[in-house]
Amino acid sequence: MADPVITTQELKKAFNGHYALNGLNLNVPAGSIFGFLGRNGAGKTTTIKLLMGFLKPSEGSARVFGLSSADPSAGMEIRGRVGLVTEDKDLYPYMTVSQIIGFARGFFAKWRDDLEGRYLKVFDLPPNLKIAGLSKGMRSKLMLLLAILHGAELLILDEPTEGLDPVAVEDVLRELVALAAEEGITVFFSSHQLEEVEQIADHVCIIDRGTSIIGGSLDDLKGQHQRLRIIFDRELDGPIHWVEGVEHVRQAGRTVEILASRNIDAIVSQARSFAPASVEQFPVTLKEIFLDYLRRD
């Protein structure tokens, strides 16, 4: 795997003594589509502001393209090479779509004129409409368009499909996949829409209360997490002490249900050593992983 495009180590950010981020570790491989998942208020937007150098970390470090986000001159370079799409969608309401494209072009050396026509069409954006008259979804698409056209190597998208209808969501996802496949662009996007993350991401990180809970290759997470249902033909004498890898156990009567995060073969062997009537194994969805990890304690 190539060098990571984004890394954070024990990244912390406090506002008035309250930690919005409390030890975040991220590793975003080059060329990946990385889904950054968490509930509202988990710290996703704060993380993005720290990566872009808009905020200074209280502790720990954030690096983009190997450059420290906290260093002001490195921050300038990062902002030039990143296409950022944020929730607030701060644009000039009095400009038309084509005026803002012309305005933005002036700030970037690597402007992609070759892609302008294509993306205006793909995103169905009327060039002569004023930004004030655009819907929330159209503004998202316009920001995404500007990010693509300025020749970004990395797209950082804060809930890019928020407020879009299902057709527009699919359009945006398809274009993100195409950018990754054709231009080799790395995409880092935050979302609480599990379905869209599962559809296009190859790596994910789930954060909760400012801390990374679980992360890595999405297919590996799904492959390693398994649910086991073990049924006995007799009552068990007390709880079983399971081997490593068992995350969660529910034991009711003659049935034991287990969520395992790894070490599945050893867990199955252990289950079989108790002479059960049956052992069934089920795949675990990202939604189940998400809910299971976030509902603890």
Binding site: A180, A181, L194, E195, E198, Q199, G223, D265, Q281, P283
Partner: protein, 134 residues
Amino acid sequence: MTFRLNPSSGVPIYLQLMEQIKHAIEVGALRAGEQLPTIRKLSEDLVMNPNTVVRAYRELQHEGVIELKHGSGAYISESVAGEARVTRKAQLIVQSALERLMSLGLTKDEARRLFENELAMLRTPTNPVGGENG
């Protein structure tokens, strides 16, 4: 050839794609020597991550199902013709076992659960389901 993936399933997407390509070979929809779509085309058509397609193709190459030729794409291996014969033979065994189970009055669901249970009890560390992938 169209593939239908379910990203919300708990089964890793690259495994789903591998299974569907193998199935397409077993039923004759894809034959030895035929070319698979390019990584870029498949990822855009299915709106899926290109790295996931790469992973599925690499694993299939590792298993000898396809050959990756640099610059020209992925082709179904010539060796899969023999495997398709074995699969057809195995299919007959499964069919006759199922017929016998049905004659005992078992429902499809009951038969499926029995198979799955026996498979789970059989499993060895080489079983790919839930194993250490990559």
